[in-house]
């Protein structure tokens, strides 16, 4: 029996190693590519022979990248904030309050989660150009907020179902209005759920390419995913492989940090909706 357990253990350990290699190999590759000096880019080896940070300094010197990074951070953070605040209101109401139409809201949100964004970029572009939202931060924040609200509402509702609502009832018996009860008692308890949905929203906004490329056109609002595809080489015809790799590494760092710090929360968030609350 104990031998069986040992071989079992070895089997699963092997599984873990394979999974980790599977997940990290492409990341390791882009890191290694970013460290290759120009004359090694085409040598077809996995690792750089003489690692150098030239590509990174080139990327910082390119005027597009620093502003794209700033846009990405600003847009993603504001979208996250707005989406989580709006979703918290909605999720609280859906879990706690009795009013007609909430099933409709939940299924409507679900429908939007499946909505193909390409179906609305044309109209959005046309609307944004008349509303002067084209190529502005807000022009991206609005669609990001919209497409993450469903996910945020579902995740938060799942979390809110777990909250001991008696506390809220007690507060209301003590004469607090529903809104006071929400703010003073429930909001602190709800914070972990909000935090989890915030991470998921941030990842979405950080990741988006379609809106970013269709609804921006300059450094004013262009985010990193769009900027990477527009990098300039050392002549009009050069293809800047090294710089693309370096920029990719820089924008992947925040994701890796988040994943390492909050893996438990992210997993809870992604599965919360799927497990019966």
């Amino acid at each position: 029996m104990s031998r069986r357990r040992a071989s079992d253990k070895a089997f699963w350990a092997g599984g873990i190693v394979i999974v980790v290699i599977y997940a990290l190999l492409p990341v390791a590759w882009i890191v290694s590519l970013s460290l290759k000096p120009t004359d090694e880019i085409t040598n077809g080896k996995f690792l750089p022979q003489h690692p150098s940070f030239d590509n990174f300094s080139d990327v910082w010197k390119d005027p597009q990248f620093p502003s794209a990074l700033r846009n990405s951070l600003g847009i993603a953070l504001i979208s996250t904030l707005l989406a989580v605040v709006l979703a918290t209101f909605a999720a609280y109401a859906i879990v706690r309050l009795d009013f007609p139409g909430k099933t409709l809201i939940m299924s409507g949100a679900l429908a939007i989660a499946m909505f193909p964004p390409v179906a609305i970029i044309g109209p959005l572009f046309n609307m944004w150009r008349s509303l002067h939202l084209f190529d502005t931060w807000f022009g991206l924040i609005i669609p990001y907020m919209t497409f993450t609200l469903p996910m945020a509402i579902w995740t938060l509702s799942a979390f809110f179902r777990e909250i001991p609502w008696d506390l809220d009832k007690a507060a209301r018996v003590d004469g607090a209005t529903p809104f006071q009860a929400f703010r003073k008692v429930i909001a602190p308890l709800a914070a972990p759920g909000m935090f989890t949905s915030a991470i998921l929203v941030f990842i979405f906004a950080w990741n988006d390419f379609l809106f970013a490329t269709a609804l921006t056109s300059t450094n004013r609002a262009r985010t990193v995913p769009a900027a990477i595809t527009f990098f300039t080489g050392s002549s009009q015809f050069d293809f800047p492989t090294g710089q693309i790799a370096a920029a990719s590494v820089i924008v992947t760092i925040p994701i890796i940090v988040m994943v390492l710090l909050f893996q438990r929360r992210i997993v809870a968030g992604l599965t919360s909706g799927a497990v019966k609350g």
């Binding site: 120009t38 004359d39 085409t42 390119d62 005027p63 597009q64 504001i78 707005l82 605040v85 572009f125 944004w128 150009r129 002067h132 939202l133 084209f134 190529d135 502005t136 931060w137 807000f138 924040i141 209005t177 529903p178 809104f179 269709a214 056109s217 300059t218 450094n219 004013r220 609002a221 595809t229 527009f230 990098f231 300039t232 080489g233 050392s234 002549s235 009009q236 015809f237 050069d238 293809f239």
Partner: protein, 435 residues
């Protein structure tokens, strides 16, 4: 609690207001700041020009550059989106030579007043002027020019072939002899493929569109010949496997490995080879773009950039004045010496400032001087009778139709594809259907 909710909403709006404000540019009171939308030229030559002309304007206006991607298709996408949004922020725009008709028809660029038109076309190459002209008016001032040449190796083929058939024959011989034999070109599904096709077609005596620019021409004989050359080159054992994804830069990289005998490419490969592959560069020579017919010189499609004035700018007078300055000879020379961009003023091709110019490159840790434009006379000849790609407001659709019909070039069937091409371009000219 209603009030609280309202307050929260108001805070959101304020935030929104702030954001759009941060997003917008600062207001200017006195001298206008002209925004020049142009690709981010790596040597900084465009910024130098902007500074120079700001100084020349003596306080009347200043010019700042706004960066666009370096790939022409992506530049167009970005610009067109802004212009369709009636963006008054675009005062001056760097336009690829193929955009004039489309931009002019949509009124995204303003026609040049007669005086300025005269100034910016004075002494310029005839085909370059033609690229900036639509329906007899000048919409874009020639800024820099370019054309592909045939690059070859003196140690491999002392006498370069003059025709595409000659290239195929020589490559086969070199291959049999075990010498470098690769043929490098542009076979990806993008504008480069259209440049190749148009150059071949015109060299064979055909045209994409008729005189009016509204009907498909594509004379059967020349079109078939052009397609047959494209197919034969693509299928040649000397053409690398990745031809169907090759752009200009893939050609440069492959050339520098030293395995290639022939390459059609722009002049940017010259400084690069001197820097990265001195041994190859030492043997590197240039000749006119290969011809289709034995006795008729090739026609090459002219490339390069023009400058236009945005259709919604608030400062058209200043912008036209600025363009006249930007495309001046001094800036053309800086573009050439710093950025390797060839001039549009014909006389500059014989100017010692260009013909004698040298570039310092680092070879094995030593600084070596090489001539910057040893090929000036060849390219001057090419440009003198270069052809202009079809001038139609539907150019983008026509180019898409050509690239999509012919790609991958290995699969071309000259008999069948002449008709397919005619149909696709015909559809494109009506702005109908998916491409």
């Amino acid at each position: 609690m209603t009030r609280r909710a309202l307050a929260a909403a108001a805070a959101g709006c304020v935030l929104a207001g702030l954001l759009t404000a941060c997003g917008g540019g600062g207001g200017e009171e006195s001298a206008p700041v002209l925004h020049w939308y142009v690709y981010n030229e790596p040597s900084g030559a465009f910024r130098t020009a902007a500074k120079r002309c700001t100084k020349a304007a003596d306080g009347a206006y200043s010019i700042v550059t706004v960066d666009l991607p370096n790939n022409a298709d992506e530049q167009r996408e970005q610009l067109v989106r802004r212009l369709a949004a009636r963006d008054g922020d675009i005062d001056i725009l760097g336009m690829d030579v193929i955009w004039t008709a489309e931009f002019a028809e949509a009124e995204w660029v303003k026609p040049f007043p007669d005086d300025e038109a005269k100034e910016v076309t004075d002494g310029r190459l005839e085909p370059a002027i033609k690229t900036g002209t639509y329906e007899d008016r000048l919409y874009a001032a020639p800024f820099n020019s370019n054309a592909e040449m045939l690059w070859y190796r003196e140690d491999v083929t002392p006498k370069p072939p003059a025709t595409w058939d000659g290239i195929l024959d020589q490559a086969a011989e070199l291959r049999a002899a075990g010498e470098p034999d690769q043929i490098l070109g542009q076979g990806q599904r993008y504008e480069g493929l259209v440049v190749w096709f148009t150059s071949l077609l015109e060299s064979a005596g055909g045209h994409v569109l008729d005189e009016s620019g509204t009907k498909v021409s594509l004379e059967t004989g020349p079109t078939r010949k052009a397609l047959q050359i494209m197919r034969d080159i693509s299928r040649s054992p000397s053409t690398p496997d990745n031809f169907a994804t090759a752009r200009e830069d893939d050609g440069r990289l492959a050339w520098e490995t030293g395995d290639a005998a022939f390459m059609t490419n722009y002049s940017f490969v010259w400084p690069s080879a001197n820097e990265n592959a001195p041994a190859v560069a030492e043997q590197m020579r240039w000749a006119r773009f290969p011809a289709v017919r034995e006795d008729v010189p090739s026609k090459v499609a002219i490339g390069g950039f023009n400058l236009g004035v945005g259709g919604y700018t608030d400062h058209p007078d200043e912008a036209f004045d600025a363009v006249s300055c930007l495309v001046g000879e001094e800036n053309q020379i800086t573009n050439a010496t710093d950025g390797g961009l060839l001039p549009v003023t014909e006389a500059l091709y014989d100017d010692p400032k260009l013909t004698e110019a040298t570039t310092e490159v680092e070879v094995d840790g030593k600084q070596v001087e090489v001539r910057s434009f040893p090929y000036a006379d060849v390219i001057k000849d090419e440009l003198a009778d270069a052809i202009v790609r079809p001038q139609t407001p539907y150019y983008n659709d026509v180019a898409l139709a050509i690239a999509r019909t012919l790609h991958p070039t290995k699969g071309i069937d000259p008999e069948r594809d002449v008709e397919r091409l005619r149909e696709a371009i015909g559809r494109a000219l009506k702005g109908e259907g998916l491409l």
